[in-house]
């Protein structure tokens, strides 16, 4: 059967301000047959999004097609006159962006945006388009499909927006869908729902798709073909089955290894803790939230009655979906957000709720590692200044001593010495995250609060960071509070797990206790939502997941 889309030796360059060109895509070729889902997989900088967009004859500003063709129905979309391009876009090829939150126009109703493309291309009349949209809402299992169209983007949840974008793309039933990391931003549980929705809809509509992601285990669930990209070149190309089971390119293998095994008991290296000793950090029935505080309860209460002990050298993994209050907890510990009720104890000593009233040595002992390395590092400070400051501030290190220590720290986070002279912008995401860690370590703390430190990173990079963390724990004996929405990460690193849901601790204990039956139903949901790296997993586990999430929504926790 004739391919729907032929990408033929595509080359795309980035034009710098000085006019020089640097290749981004270096001669990529592949085909997409009708009804087929092809996955472009690779890490940031691999050019996967750029390639995907070329299917719409579009490049981000600053990029230029240099050679090669992208043929849709045998017609080159690159050389196409712009008016034809416009007609082709949305009608023949539709695009789903990574963050629906950003891609929906805040000032227009959902309905208008979903139906727009179909209407302006004269495919459907207004009311037909609206009915079609409603069908799609139902197919995508969106709530109140009748009224949804009248609402505004900010009025629906992230997961729903993501699905609405699918509706937007499918409304004018295009021949080809281009999905750019459509589930990366979502919680595991939501991710599954969305994945399932996408898959079934794509089946129904029988439209082909290009699925861009860095997450192999997601790909395994949805793709027929897989193209592995690195630095703008195809590393491996084969059927999903083949690539996943028998990867024959070593970059693919590295990707595979980076994927963490599904969470289960017995992972991660444990450190036996002696219960008699005083915990390093302890939360005693903590209540916290935002807004005005009236007799111990905040206007918008986030955390309710939290009790946690962290002993020396121990690693406590905190897991939960977005909005469950994990980050808030970290902020309470660090004092960024004073608890409205309850106490934080450091080595049994009561800590002042607000960090403004905490002593320098107290502050030094608890260090915070922010989620986003690139916003957590001041772009106007050199690395050595960033690392040097805590050394001066807490340890009064100066001159030679300081420089020596900085060198040690860089070594500790496995970065070359010459990074000391660079600015954050010159580092990659992973490297920034390492600096971010190094800065926390510089204070030689007793406890490290890591808030989603790897969730923003690519698989391999993330894996490396985890390795690094393990190293550090060994060498420094620091205690960790490791916050993540990804259970398998936590399982592979922590030795004690706290499961948060809606601001309450629903389950906690050692990894073995938590991850071996009998499961707490919510824990079970989390566990089973983590996609496994094998084709067909989704179909098998989807029913169980749905039943569990249904329970959750009915509220089994009280």
């Amino acid at each position: 059967m004739a391919p729907l889309l032929e990408v033929d030796n595509l080359k795309i360059d980035a034009r710098k301000d000085d006019g020089s060109l640097t290749p981004i895509v270096k001669g990529v070729s592949f085909n997409v047959k009708p009804g087929e889902v092809l996955a472009l997989i690779g890490e940031s900088g691999s050019g996967k999004t750029t390639i995907a967009l070329s299917a719409l004859g579009y490049t981000k500003p600053g990029l230029e097609f240099t050679s090669g063709e992208v043929r849709l129905h045998g017609q080159d979309v690159i050389s196409m006159p712009s008016e034809e391009k416009r007609l082709m876009r949305g009608q023949k090829v539709a695009y789903l962006a990574q963050s629906a939150a950003a891609t929906f126009n805040p000032a227009m109703t959902i309905g208008e945006q979903v139906t727009e493309s179909a209407i302006i291309h004269g495919q459907l009349l207004k009311e037909d388009a609206e009915n079609r949209a409603k069908e799609l809402y139902r197919a995508l299992e969106l709530p109140e499909p009748e009224r949804l169209g009248k609402r505004y983007p900010h009025q629906v949840s992230g997961g729903q927006l993501q699905r609405l974008m699918a509706a937007m793309a499918l409304c004018g039933n295009p021949d080809l869908l281009v999905l750019d990391e459509p589930t990366t931003a979502l919680d595991v549980t939501t991710q599954i729902e969305v994945l399932k929705a996408f898959k079934s809809v794509i089946k129904q509509e029988g439209s082909a798709a290009i699925y861009v992601t860095h997450d192999l285990s997601v790909v395994a669930q949805i793709a027929d073909e897989i193209v592995v990209l690195y630095a703008g070149e195809v590393q491996e190309h084969g059927s999903a089955e083949q690539v996943v089971s028998t990867p024959n390119h070593d970059y693919t293998r590295r990707l595979m290894n980076a994927v963490r095994p599904p969470p289960a008991a017995g992972h991660g290296d444990k450190i036996e803790k002696s219960n008699n000793e005083v915990p390093v950090l302890e939360l005693k029935n903590i209540f916290a939230g935002y807004g005005k505080i009236r007799d111990g309860t905040a206007n918008i209460s986030v955390l309710e009655n939290i009790n946690i002990k962290i002993s020396k050298g121990q690693t406590v993994g905190v897991i939960g979906e977005s909005g469950c209050g994990k980050s808030t907890m970290a902020r309470v510990m660090s004092g960024l957000l004073p608890a409205s009720k309850g106490n934080v104890l450091l080595r049994g000593e009561n800590l002042k709720p607000d960090l403004k009233n905490r002593s320098r040595s107290e502050l030094q002992k608890i260090q915070f590692v922010f989620q986003m390395a690139d916003t957590a590092l001041n772009p106007r400070q050199r690395i050595d200044q960033i690392l040097g400051r805590p050394l001066e501030f807490y340890l009064e290190l100066r001159g030679g001593e300081k420089r020596k220590r900085i060198a040690e720290l860089l070594e500790m986070v496995e970065l070359p010495q010459d990074f000391a002279g660079r600015y954050p912008d010159e580092l990659s995401g992973g490297q920034k995250q390492r600096i971010n860690l190094a800065r926390a370590l510089a204070a030689s703390p007793e406890i490290l609060l890591c808030d989603e430190v790897i969730s923003a990173l690519d698989t391999i990079v993330g894996a490396n960071i985890i390795e690094l963390l393990k190293q550090l724990r060994k060498n420094t004996g620091v205690s960790f509070v490791f916050i993540s929405h990804d259970l398998s990460t936590v399982a592979s690193f922590a030795d004690h797990i706290v499961v948060l849901y809606a601001g309450k601790v629903v389950d906690q204990g050692t990894v073995d206790e938590v991850l071996s039956p009998p499961y707490h139903p919510y824990t079970r949901l989390l566990i089973s939502s983590v996609p496994e790296l094998r084709v067909g997993w989704l179909e098998e586990s989807v029913d169980e997941i749905e039943e569990l999430s249904l329970k959750r929504d009915q509220g089994f926790i009280n």
């Binding site: 710098k16 301000d17 000085d18 890490e43 940031s44 900088g45 691999s46 690195y230 630095a231 970059y251 590295r254 660090s334 004092g335 960024l336 960090l355 905490r358 320098r360 502050l363 260090q367 915070f368 922010f370 986003m372 690139d374 916003t375 957590a376 590092l377 001041n378 772009p379 106007r380 400070q381 400051r389 805590p390 501030f393 070594e411 496995e414 970065l415 070359p416 010495q417 600015y423 912008d425 010159e426 580092l427 990659s428 995401g429 992973g430 490297q431 800065r439 204070a443 690519d458 391999i460 990079v461």
Partner: protein, 310 residues
């Protein structure tokens, strides 16, 4: 082998690709380049103007200079067209326009620059204070600022000058004060943006004092947009001061500043004299030049600035 080498080795195979390209260097369009040229030119004139100008700014040229064979014994000296005697012609009093423009560069640019500087000293200090300070401080400062902002600048200038007279220091002080209000707005909003960024939080968690946070974390990150804003503000101040001169409140004669030069020679317009046009040309070249540069820079920083300029 040493850790460093190990790392190097690790990195060489499939190293992490930088996800953010390094900060771009500003590249100027043709307009920008022209702008830079003129700005540079005028800056030079500020310093050497008086030394290269053919006459003193106060010189009222003698009638004898303009005598043409067979002409009157006492020819007019005012509003003379360009000639060998006066390259850009003469003004309403028979003074050399070119010389006055060259001298005027120092006065005009000098005054405006100092005023802008003052405006920034005040505006930024208070603006940042409002951004980092308590809600009440912010409320207090903002209300006062709004109030001052609401008074038409020209009126404010008029009353102040009427109250304390028009000397150069007063001119500078007043203008600085008037424009500090709008700088305050810009500085405050910029400051607030940076204030909520993670690295400031990180500094807070570290227990840094306010001074450090302001000087090391915030200021370095607002300096660039403020620089561009400085350019535009400077332009407006030049125009503002020339408006004052138009209402007869400029610098003391025979000192020349471009604004009052336009004003005092407007009478020549109907006679087709270029004496009022030349100084305005000077103003225009400078202001347009600065605007062109700023346009390039703010285009570079994503035009975000233009919104804050409101």
């Amino acid at each position: 082998m040493s850790i460093d080498e190990k790392i190097k080795e690790k990195i060489t195979s499939f190293e992490e690709l930088p996800d953010a390209p390094p900060r771009r260097k500003i590249r100027f369009s043709i307009g920008g380049k022209i702008g830079i040229f003129f700005v540079f030119f005028w800056i030079v004139m500020v310093f050497i103007g008086p030394y290269v100008s053919p006459y003193n700014e106060a010189d009222i040229l003698d009638e004898s200079l303009f005598i043409v064979p067979g002409g009157e014994e006492y020819p007019d000296t005012d509003y003379q067209p360009p000639s060998k005697v006066a390259f850009l012609g003469t003004d309403y009093l028979g003074r050399d326009t070119l010389s006055r423009i060259l001298y005027g560069a120092r006065t005009t640019i000098g005054i405006s620059f100092l005023a802008t500087l003052l405006a920034y000293l005040l505006g930024v200090t208070l603006g940042i204070a409002a951004a980092v300070g308590s809600e009440w401080l912010d409320m207090f400062l903002s209300r006062f600022n709004d109030a001052f902002l609401s008074i038409p600048t020209i009126m404010m200038g008029l009353v102040v000058i009427a109250a304390v007279g028009s000397t150069i220091p007063i001119l500078i002080g007043m203008t600085g004060l008037i424009y500090a209000t709008s700088v305050f707005r810009v500085a405050r909003s910029l400051g607030q943006d940076v204030m909520v960024s993670d690295f400031v939080e990180a500094a807070k968690v570290r227990g840094e004092g306010l001074w450090w946070i302001i000087t090391r974390e915030i200021l370095p990150n607002v300096v660039m947009p403020l620089a561009t804003d400085f350019g535009l503000r400077f332009v407006w101040i030049i125009l503002f001061i020339s408006s004052l001169s138009f209402l007869g409140l400029g610098v003391q004669p025979p000192m020349s500043d471009w604004g009052s030069m336009v004003k005092e020679n407007l009478g020549g317009l109907p006679y087709g004299s270029i004496s009022p046009l030349m100084p305005s040309l000077a103003i225009a070249t400078l202001t347009i030049a600065i605007n062109l540069i700023v346009d390039d820079i703010s285009a570079h920083s994503g035009g975000k600035l233009s919104n804050r300029m409101i």
